[in-house]
């Protein structure tokens, strides 16, 4: 019941916002903040009351806050939700990141009421996906996140927002339908004909038919790989990120990408252990390619936001490396495979926090100069020391410096994977070097040297980004681009202030805390990761 409230509370707030026109402007954002804060408080309460247990628990048993209601009895799909060590950290991450985005949006000038309602709707969809223990319910929420994010990008994006939104929708919708086909395969392959994840994981389907199992894993893997995104299905990501608003990017990278990796841990590994073991090396290879591809392509970017977007491909590659290694049952003992799984789960949380912060910080650049291009910015450390400090912290965190959550995560992934896939692991470690290099170069370009700030807003910038600035003076016929009057700032970098600070600092603080005191999170994750490692070895 509590979990249902957590999932549906944002949706109720969204309905309230739409139903009461008086809640416009700043008031709408305050409602959003209040709803997100209340939701986060409830998640915190759930965490406080949650008993992670000892040894391997979760996934197929000991699920907390469980609710199981019939929905479509003819195909045994139900409203089955619950919490275990896999989902609780991600539910908490969702709560934190959405609250940060709500605070960030306090100064949002463009249709704040609709935006707040849309984000609250999106929050329900994300929480629901993480809480779902039924394949169809998972799919319902999974698809709704796509719809919600489409409208966020199309409605509040900049640049070529509509095209990017369309690309995002088509790509991820294709992925979601592959996922649906895979789910139907699981349903028809299971003995008792059910969509219930727990029942399916207890009694895995298709164990006696490797071909069918492999094809179903292919369908599910394809669906999740588009979402994650893994090379070569990542091409929607940079466009969607570049043109999305800052808060939308933070959610897209911080939460929505996790839906893909979470699907691997929650669905692909426990329900198709046989096929996962057989194809684990492919997963490792795809993960490693994503690591290297993401890192090197990020290195070549001239646009801050695109660069951060590609590092997401890199970071998600580590997760897949860990999960693939967890499936190499023959080559590694259970302890190593558990460590790899723990690392992968830890990486999801740390990436959510750090990339969320990075995207919000890149939003500062947009709000000051309406461009992300590296060559328009320079020497920002002098006019904006707080911004420089925050960006440096986030960048160092993201490259995996000890003391940050990402270090704990990547260290465990490499430790766990080394025994099973030594070559891939060594290759992936070089990815860290490249990432370190690119973040340092980025910091150097943005923060050091002579101060350079693009003039705003009608400075005749040769960049195509200038097109986005035009509509504020002449609204287009179809209203395709933002018509908001952005707060005019003096030519000169205004430092991070008020709401922006309140949104970014907690994310970075959490990333540091989880890097210094990992036990709090590990206690929750480890039993579930051990359970996954055991289930996949069946």
């Amino acid at each position: 019941m509590l979990l249902t409230v957590v999932v549906l509370l944002p949706l109720a707030a969204a309905a309230l916002l739409l139903a009461v026109p008086a809640l416009a402007g700043r008031a709408a954002i305050w409602v959003w903040i209040a709803a997100s804060a209340a939701d986060l408080a409830l998640v915190a309460w759930m965490w406080w009351r949650y008993d992670p247990g000892r040894g391997a628990t979760g996934v197929v048993g000991n699920l907390a806050y469980e609710v199981d209601l019939q929905w479509i009895p003819t195909v045994d799909a139900g409203y089955h939700i619950g919490v275990d060590g896999l989902s609780l950290p991600l539910l908490a991450l969702t709560g934190v990141l959405f609250l940060a985005c709500a605070v960030w949006s306090l100064r949002e000038p463009d249709r704040p009421r609709t935006q707040a309602a849309l984000f609250l709707f999106l929050q329900t969809a994300c929480l629901g996906t993480f809480a779902a223990l039924d394949l169809i319910l998972f799919f319902v929420f999974f698809d709704l996140t796509i719809v919600g994010m489409y409208f966020v990008i199309a409605g509040w994006g900049h640049g070529n927002a509509r095209r990017s939104a369309l690309k995002f929708f088509l790509y991820t919708f294709l992925g979601s339908l592959a996922l649906l086909v895979g789910f139907i395969g699981l349903f028809l392959g299971s003995e008792e004909r059910t969509f219930d994840m727990v029942a399916l994981a207890e009694n895995p389907p298709l164990t006696d038919s490797p071909l069918a199992g492999g094809l179903v894993l292919l369908a599910i893997g394809l669906g999740l790989a588009v979402k994650t995104p893994l090379f070569p299905f990542h091409t929607w990501l940079p466009d969607a990120h570049t043109d999305a608003p800052a808060a939308g990017s933070a959610i897209l990278a911080g939460i929505l990408l996790k839906l893909g990796t979470y699907g691997f841990v929650r669905i692909a590994m426990p329900i198709l252990p046989d096929a996962w073991q057989r194809w684990a090396m492919v997963v490792v290879v795809v993960g490693t390619i994503s690591v290297l591809w993401g890192a090197f392509v990020a290195l070549a970017q001239t646009d801050v936001k695109r660069m951060i977007a590609y590092t997401s491909v890199n970071h998600m590659g580590y997760v897949l490396l860990g999960l693939g290694a967890a499936g190499l049952v023959g080559q590694a003992d259970e302890e190593a495979r558990t460590i790899a799984t723990v690392g992968a789960l830890y990486q999801m949380v740390s990436h959510g926090l750090l990339t969320g912060a990075l995207f919000l910080l890149s939003g500062v650049l947009w709000s000051r100069g309406q461009t992300y291009a590296f060559d328009h910015w320079g020497g920002l450390a002098r006019p904006a020391p707080v911004f420089a400090a925050l960006l440096a912290v986030a960048a160092f965190g993201s490259l995996g410096l000890p003391g940050f959550a990402s270090f704990i995560a990547e260290f465990q992934i490499f430790t766990g994977a080394l025994q099973a896939a030594p070559v891939a692991t060594v290759l992936a470690v070089t990815g860290i070097l490249v990432t370190a290099g690119l973040f340092l170069v980025a910091l150097q370009r943005l923060l050091t040297g002579p101060t350079a700030v693009p003039s705003l807003p009608d400075g005749s910038s040769p960049d195509d980004q200038a097109a986005a600035a035009a509509p504020s003076s002449s609204p287009t016929q179809d209203g395709a681009t933002a018509t908001a009057v952005r707060p005019r700032t003096a030519t000169g970098m205004r430092d991070v202030h008020g709401a922006e600070l309140a949104a970014v600092v907690p994310l970075l603080a959490l990333a540091v805390l989880l890097g210094l005191f990992p036990r709090a999170l590990l206690d929750v994750i480890e039993p579930a990761a051990a359970a996954v490692a055991q289930l996949v070895a069946r």
Partner: protein, 489 residues
């Protein structure tokens, strides 16, 4: 109703089994008589009578739903789960369609006639679904077709006339094909009843059987608007008024798909030809060609017309596996209901702004009315099959049933087609959703309010649109309840 005098009591009881159909007929006859004696400005009475008749018919069908399946009138008329579903869905859809048409028909000199024809068409549709005999199927085909020819050209304008002519010629041609098919089946077996056909057809000569199967399927395919007899769909939809288009693309399809379902489950179930594969190919072609043709449409009516062609493809998937899996009937039940609601909603969006023909005009006209846009988005995404709408549950059930029936390739094709269909629905959604309105105190400069065209907003279609959007979501969320009612056990 012209029962033979002998066995009067038996026939009387059997006639009572057709109470839902009798109520529709009563509504049609009563409405016609009432309309003759009602002044022009009071024609709303006829509308009320007709809608009440539809609702009563649906209620009567719901009451007898859980009764055991029977075949009445010498086993020509089947009353079972499939018929029950069609009775309820068609009667309710007809009520919605009449309400939807009311705003464009009000004050029309032939208002009564339109309602009566709509009711008769609905009656023919139910007869299609309930046919347990080839001759009744032919009669039902005619009853479900002829009123629609008149309705298609009801406005008596050039495009409507052209639409009617095209519809009529195609219908007459396919009707002949169908009768040739029926004749060959009769030649092969000497009977027209489905149960006898089911036992005799497996031994029938292959050539006669093939002609028969193709002819009869062409007939129901035409009513459903399936490829390759779909050519009338876009022209009729774009040529007639939006409200009539909603009726023509929704109601007959329901009965035709159910009739095809029954044909495959019963008489064609054991024939040596691979009829399921034939239907699967029809389904594949319908969804693919419908989608491809819809890609570049800029006229909202034509876009929806091709969308209905592709929707028939998904519906025919479940026809292909009729009788081969237990999951088929629930899938049919939920998809038919979901399709009817959602399609009526989408056409109601067109009917709300009758002057706006193209997507951009529509977006401009609807720009001020945010809730209309929201409901349209729900309906269009519903047609895509986005959860939690009814069509999503329908698609899920249809995909599952089709795979279970051994046609996994068709499921993959349908999934790819679903993604493709998203593209053209988004071509409508994106401009509609992007048109700015000015939220109170929202702080925008309001410079984007450039709405100039199509200020005429019709109330009844807007109400229909909202109701359809809500019902689509409710039916999706409550699909378990609907299925528990219509497919007990």
């Amino acid at each position: 109703m012209n029962d033979p005098m002998g066995g009067m009591t038996g026939a009387g009881e059997e006639a009572l089994a057709l109470l839902p159909e009798l109520l529709l007929l009563l509504g049609a006859g009563g409405g016609l008589l009432l309309g003759l004696w009602t002044p022009q400005h009071r024609q709303w009475r006829v509308r009320a009578v007709v809608i009440v008749a539809c609702l009563a018919s649906a209620a009567a069908a719901a009451v007898v739903f859980s009764d055991p399946p029977t075949r009445v009138f010498e086993e020509t008329w089947v009353i079972d789960g499939t018929t029950g579903i069609v009775r309820i869905v068609v009667a309710l859809s007809a009520a919605v369609a009449v309400f939807l048409a009311s705003s464009s028909l009000a004050g029309h000199p032939r208002e009564t006639e339109a309602y009566v024809l709509m009711l008769l068409g609905a009656l023919g549709t139910i007869a299609l679904a309930a046919s347990g005999d080839l001759l009744l199927l032919v009669a039902a085909y005619l009853l479900a077709s002829i009123p629609l020819y008149a309705l298609a050209g009801f406005a008596k304008d050039a495009s409507g006339t052209e639409a009617t002519l095209k519809y009529y010629l195609m219908g007459a041609f396919v009707g002949v094909l169908m009768m040739v098919g029926v004749t060959s089946l009769v030649l092969a077996t000497g009977t027209t009843g489905y149960p006898e056909l089911a036992t005799l057809l497996p031994e029938a000569p292959a050539a006669l059987l093939a002609v028969g199967v193709i002819g009869v399927l062409a007939g129901v395919g035409f009513k459903a608007g399936a490829v390759p007899v779909h050519f009338w769909v876009p022209d009729v939809t774009a040529g007639t008024t939006p409200a009539m288009a909603a009726y023509i693309t929704t109601i007959p399809k329901i009965g035709a798909v159910a009739a095809a379902f029954r044909l495959l489950a019963e008489p064609f179930g054991g024939v040596p030809l691979d009829v399921p594969l034939l239907v699967a190919v029809i389904a594949a072609l319908s969804m693919t060609l419908g989608n491809l043709a819809a890609f570049n449409q800029t006229d909202v009516s034509r876009l929806l017309a091709y969308s209905t062609v592709s929707q028939v493809g998904y519906l025919f998937m479940v026809v292909a596996v009729a009788g081969r899996t237990d999951l088929a009937l629930p899938a049919l039940a939920i998809y038919l209901a979901g399709y009817a609601i959602t399609n009526l909603g989408a056409f109601a969006a067109v009917a709300a702004f009758p002057e706006a023909r193209s997507i951009s005009d529509w977006a401009a006209a609807a720009g001020r009315n945010r809730w209309v846009v929201v409901s349209l988005v729900v309906c269009l995404l519903g047609l895509v099959g986005t959860p939690p709408t009814a069509v999503f549950v329908g698609k899920l059930a249809v995909f599952t049933a089709t795979w279970d029936g051994g046609l996994a390739w068709l499921v993959v094709l349908a999934a790819v087609n679903t993604v493709a269909s998203l593209f053209y629905y988004l071509r409508w959604i994106a401009p509609a959703a992007a048109t700015r309105d000015v939220p109170a105190g929202g702080g925008t400069d309001g410079g984007a309010s450039t709405v100039t065209v199509g200020r005429a907003v019709r109330t009844a279609p807007v109400v229909t649109l909202h109701v359809a959007a809500i019902a689509s979501v409710l039916l999706g969320a409550g699909s378990g309840l609907w299925l528990a009612v219509v497919v007990p056990g």
